[in-house]
Each structure stands twice: as C-alpha cells, then as structure tokens.
Subunit: 414 residues, 2 copies
C-alpha cells in the first residue's frame, strides 16, 4: 500500500466520524485550535524559522519569503480566523427540501459533508490552518498537501490541529498532512478516487492547470483571475478611473484584481490620459497600437499579454469599437472570474451582465468585491472559476453535498 | 484545427445565443421537434434499419439490437418525451438569492445555463433526443457523441433537431453530433476544456470509467448502481421479501435495481428461505458460505461478485453479524447510488441513513424509486453518483449554473 493510499484509507475511516460530529464538538475543537496557536507560537515560529532559513539558502525571492513568514501578528490573525470559522452557522444537517410522493414515500434532501477533501497548495502556511479548519467545520476530513518550502511550518500547524482533535476525543486523522512532498505524492493524491471525494487546488495557474490535467478525482477549479474592466462609451470617466485604479492597484497580487482595461474608442483618449495621470508612471501599460497614441506603452500587447495574470502593477489596454468587441474579448481571454462594465446606459449594463460568461459580472463597481466575506458568505475557501457545484466565492456550503433520505412502509414500484 | 475543435468552436459560438433564448422560443423549438419526429418517422426508421442491418452483420447480441431498434411506439414515446420537457418550468433566469451589502452594492445570484455540454453515450438512439432536448431546454448547447452502432439513426435524429432550430431562426449548432465515432474523437472531446463546460457520460461502467480516467473537462459521473438491501434483525420479513423482490426483478437492467442483499444472521434462515421460495429458481444466487446452508448458490461469492453490477436476474447474498458490518460492506462495495434498510427499529433506521454514504438512503421501500420522475423533478438526464454539483436524480436544474450580478454606483474597496 502506497503512502497516499495509507493516508487516504485513514482519512476515509476518519470521515465516518467527522461527518457525525455535533456542531458544538466541532466548535470546541476549533476553539482549542485557536488557543493552541496562540500558546504554541514559539514552537510555530521555531518551525517556521527552519523553512525561512532553507528558503534563503535556496535564494527564494523576497516576496515569496514574506508569504512564508509567520510573525506574531500573523499567528494572531490565524487564531482569529479560526474563531471566526467557529462562529459561523453549521452548514451540515440543513433540510434543503423534500416532498411526500403520491405513494406515501417521504423524500428529504439533507446537507451532508463532502467526505474527504484534498487541498493542494503552495508555500503559504496560513492556508494550512485556514483550509483545514473550514473543511472540519463542514464535517469533512482533510488531506493537506502543501509545498516543500513550508513543510516544517505545516508539520507544526497540522500537529496542533490533530492534537486539538485528540483533546476532544476525536480521531486526529480528520486532518492529515502529506509530509512526503515529492511530485509523486501530489500526482497520486490527484488519482486517489477510492479515498478522496474532491480536490481543491489553491495557488497559481501552473498548479491549477497541473491538477486539472492530471486529476481523476473531481476538482473544484479556483483562483485564476484574468479580470477586465470595460469602460463603455457611456461611462462616467471619473468613476471609471476610480474603479480601474482600485481594481488594479489596491492589491495587485490577488485573483480579483484586474489585469486588463478595455475602452470604447470614442472616449479612449480622455479616459486613458486621465488614468495615466492618476497613476503617474506607477503602473506599467502594455496595449494595442491605437492606445499608444494616448499613453506610453512598455510594448505592444500580444495575445499572451491579454491572456496573462500580471499580478503586479502592470495592465493590458485595448481600445474597442463597441461593446460587442469588448464582450467577445472578455469571453475569449477571461478566466470566468470577475468582469466589470462602467456605463450609465442601462441597455449596455444589462447586455454586459447577460452576455459575459463569468462568476461575477459587475456594473459600476470594483471587481475587488468578489470575496466570500464581502458577499456575506462569512468565509472563503477559494473562488471557483468553474461552473459545476459552485461558482465564485466558496463558503462553507460549497464544502457540503446532500443526500436523499427516503422513508416508506413497504412501497414497491409497479 | 481538429474536427472536435471545429465542433467545439461552433458550439461555443452557438451557446451565446442558446443561453439567451426565451422560454417560449425554446418551447416552440421543442414542439417542432416533437412534430417532426412523428412526421419523419419513415425516414427515421429507414436510417435505423441501416444500423440494425449492420448490427446483425456484426453479430450484435439480441438485447443490444433491441435497444438500438426504433419502432413506431418508441418514436411516439420520444415525441411524447420531448413534449413533456417542453411543459416543464424553465430552469434558467431564476433569482436564487441576493443581498444588498453595507456599501450599497446589490448582489443577485441568478441561474444561467452551464454553456456547452458534451454527452458521451452508447448505442441507444433515444438518448440522442432525450439528452439533446433536456440540454436545450436549460439553454445549453450540446455536443452528442453516441456509439458508432447507432450512427445512422443519430444522424437522422440530430438532423431533425437542427432543422427544428433553423425553422425558428435559431443557429442549428445548438445541437451537434460527433459523426466521426473513432475512439480519438471521444478522447479529444474529453479534453476540450476550451470549448466544453461539462461532460456527462451515459452508459455502462466501462464507458464511465474511461471518461473519469481521461477527461480534463469537468465530469458528472452517472449511473453506476451497485445497490443493496440490508434486511435488519428487526425487519418485517414479508415486507423485506416484497422489497427485495421488487428492487431486484421489476427491471433488473437499470441502475437503481439492487445487486446485493445483506441479511442479519438471526433472521437469515427464515428470510432467505422465503425469498428463494418467492423466486422459485428464477433468480440465481451467489453468496457467502453461511448463506449456502439455506439457499442454493451458483458459487461462493468473492469480492468481485460483491463489486459487480449483474444487471440481470442474479443477486449476491451475504449474512452479517450486525448493522455495522452491513454499513461497512455497503460503504466499501457500493457505488453511492441507492441503499435500503428494512427494519422496524427506529434507531437502526436512523443509523443506516446517517452512516451509509449514498445519494439516496431508503428505509422500508424499494430502491427502484430513485428516479427524476418519481422524485418529482419532472425529467432526468441521469443519476449522479458523485458528490459535486448534484447527487442522485438530475433534473433540469442540474444542467444550469449561476452567476452573480453585482450592481453599484462607483464602489471601490478600501
């Protein structure tokens, strides 16, 4: 039996119990995790220090090292996040519908946990606690497969979660870490259909595409955001500059930040000049030939530029003839995440929302609002860019499925 | 550009329109399809005759030839089925929820079509019309990839659906048939992520497993049913015989028929003898050693027998020590479809429904009721045995997703 098979078997066995934990017991475990994160912070930082040392030895980029680093403030943030998850309503056991059939059978549709969830992610140790606790809250068992860069931090954090479960008499295998971070274990996890119900990759496009390509386990695709703002001919230009500025620069590294601005030819000059003025050289433009008449481009944009997530202070510009060209461009290059039109013309607003194929389609607001907390879901395990199961921000409900309970008194089919 | 790429491109382009067809126009197209099926029946039967002749030349088994054959009654049945789909409520455009956020943004969650659906199926030409029309009703574009055995029938039927769309001024590419039925086109369709939003395989276990193994497009897994009845120690034995008889013999070839009966050791003798008496040699038993004391077995059952769908008048028997052994057996060998306990003891009924991991978990009723029509969904595109998106019978709603429409007046994130 392979290493992943062993983890999978333990996870499936633990899932029988995790699915039946009461709300209060799950919340007690979460509360204990929060306290232990705070109390064991020295141990956490010591483990994290090993990862940081290794990162420096491997010449990891500063931004990556920063993501990897666990400070006191970040540990406090993790603990606070766990308490917030505990405070959310339990998504399991909801009666979602039902009926009494003509033959007297009663059919009840009830929410239940998904079962065993595999999370494949990169080197952000905060994902370990965050994703682990969301899965637990929804009654699931979780197998966490983080990057090798964070292995010491992850071992320590998962150790805390397991110890918290044990303190409450619960099988610690409700949270397991894949400690062997070879490429093989990731691939095996993607094909562990016998044990794993759902895989959720969290990370960059490369990781997500590898999972989609290799997984036979059902996948929820998350987090790739090649988002656009289309500045319509009938836009309020000042509002458009504010929205584009916010959607690009407020936090450029996240998936709901925009990577492209499309602008109607009739207002391109006025808008682009104002935008360039606002940014004053702090954001790099690439763009089509036409736009080069009004702004300074780093280069003429090609399809690759329009397809790419810069995740940086860089934006691709395109001047379009009409709203149809804008919509066609978005449906071609977008990743189905968040798209926005700035317009005062009702018919164009409606057309854009109808025809753009994305999880969240905005009129006159920054795409930065596509977020589980902002949308009122209370939490977020990621933002789905696929159409099955869940689309857009995924709250706790996305970590559940349902079953039909059918009760009779001897009914047979005629 | 490959053949499948071409179909995919046309499908994606047509999906822009199909998603926006009004309810009444979609229903008009469906009504026209029904009329054309009736009026063009000679043409349909002539095309079908080609497939039947080829089937005989290839020495196809009689049961398979029967599935392939389109009689007048079956054509009437198809037309009637299309009219029933037309009469169902439209699943698109429903407002599923929404909110006004503290900053004044309104968020509306609205149901929309999935987009482009690929259906991969075997040689039942009725699936062509049935699946095609359900996809259309939900505003989707569909690529149908049936088996080569039914190619002439399918060409004719898809031709009718396309002509009906054209009659109403709608792009006929909302329904396309993969006319090249080589293995390569199936594999290509499974990897056409750029064009296809969802794949639904309809057919036997071999087909479904090939799709799961090879697809990179999200798949809805349907139709494998290794179902059980567990006859509890506290069962009404006459009711148990009725339920097992119905679930096994009323239509043995379908996925919600049972393949196994588990029985508590304390009542095994009485129950098994009564069951054998009821069946009087018409159903073949395989079973464990213990059961051979009470009934005549074809052979001692091994894991393969417990894992297999017989889809025939054959059943696997196992005598268990207690309900826990029954539940463990079901969760090990079952396919998550439909499972039943026969018992008068409330605590065992509840335990079984809580701990068995399946789409539909029954107390004291035949598993044969797991069906979109029986459950009141109005239609059925298949029965999902996976946990993402939809579980159990899939009605029209399962062929939709949703998008968030977010409306503001210049909101940016602070």
């Amino acid at each position: 039996m392979s290493y992943i098979d062993e983890l999978g078997k333990k996870a499936k066995s633990a899932a029988k119990n995790s699915a039946m934990l009461s709300q209060s017991l799950k919340n007690d475990i979460l509360a204990t995790i929060a306290v232990m994160l705070e109390n064991d912070r020295d141990e956490i930082k010591k483990a994290n220090e090993l990862d940081i040392t290794a990162a420096h030895e491997n010449n990891m980029a500063a931004a990556m090292v920063d993501r990897l680093t666990l400070t006191d403030a970040r540990i406090d943030g993790m603990a606070e996040g766990v308490r917030q998850v505990a405070a959310l309503p339990d998504p399991v056991g909801k009666i979602l519908g039902g009926n009494t059939l003509p033959n007297g059978l009663t059919v009840i549709k009830k929410s239940v946990p998904l079962g065993v969830i595999g999370i494949i992610f990169e080197s952000r140790p905060n994902v370990t606690v965050d994703a682990g606790c969301l899965c637990l809250k929804a009654g699931n068992t979780v197998i966490l497969r983080g990057g090798s860069d964070a292995i010491n931090s992850n071992k320590c954090l998962v150790g805390i979660m397991r110890a918290a479960a044990e303190k409450h008499g619960v099988n610690p295998d409700i949270v397991q870490l894949v400690e062997n971070t070879s490429r093989d274990t990731a691939t095996e996890l993607m094909k562990a259909n016998e044990y794993v119900d759902v895989l959720i990759p969290r990370g960059g496009g490369g990781l997500i595409n590898a999972v989609i390509k290799n997984a036979t386990v059902p996948v929820i695709q998350t987090g790739e955001g090649n988002c656009h703002v289309y500045v319509d001919r009938f836009a309020d230009i000042d509002m458009a500059v504010d929205i584009v500025d916010n959607a690009k620069t407020q936090r450029p590294s996240v998936c709901n930040a925009i990577e492209n601005v499309l602008v109607h030819k009739n207002i391109a000059e006025g808008f682009l000049k104002k935008l360039a003025e606002r940014w004053n050289g702090n954001v790099t433009f690439v763009g089509d030939e036409a736009s080069s008449a009004y702004i300074t481009l780093e280069k003429i944009a090609d399809d690759e530029d329009y397809r790419r997530e810069f995740l940086d202070l860089k934006i691709a510009v395109k001047i379009v003839d009409d709203i149809d060209e804008a919509i066609a461009h978005i449906n071609r290059f977008g990743t189905g995440h968040s798209e926005c039109i700035v317009t005062e013309y009702l018919r164009n607003a409606e057309k854009f929302q109808r025809e753009v194929d994305a999880a969240a389609v905005y009129v006159n607001a920054s795409t930065r609002f596509t977020d589980g907390f902002e949308f009122g879901l209370g939490a977020e395990i990621g933002i789905s860019t696929q159409k099955l199961h869940v689309r857009g921000p995924m709250g706790l409900e996305a970590l559940t499925t349902f079953k039909y309970l059918v009760n009779g008194n001897g009914q047979t089919r005629g």
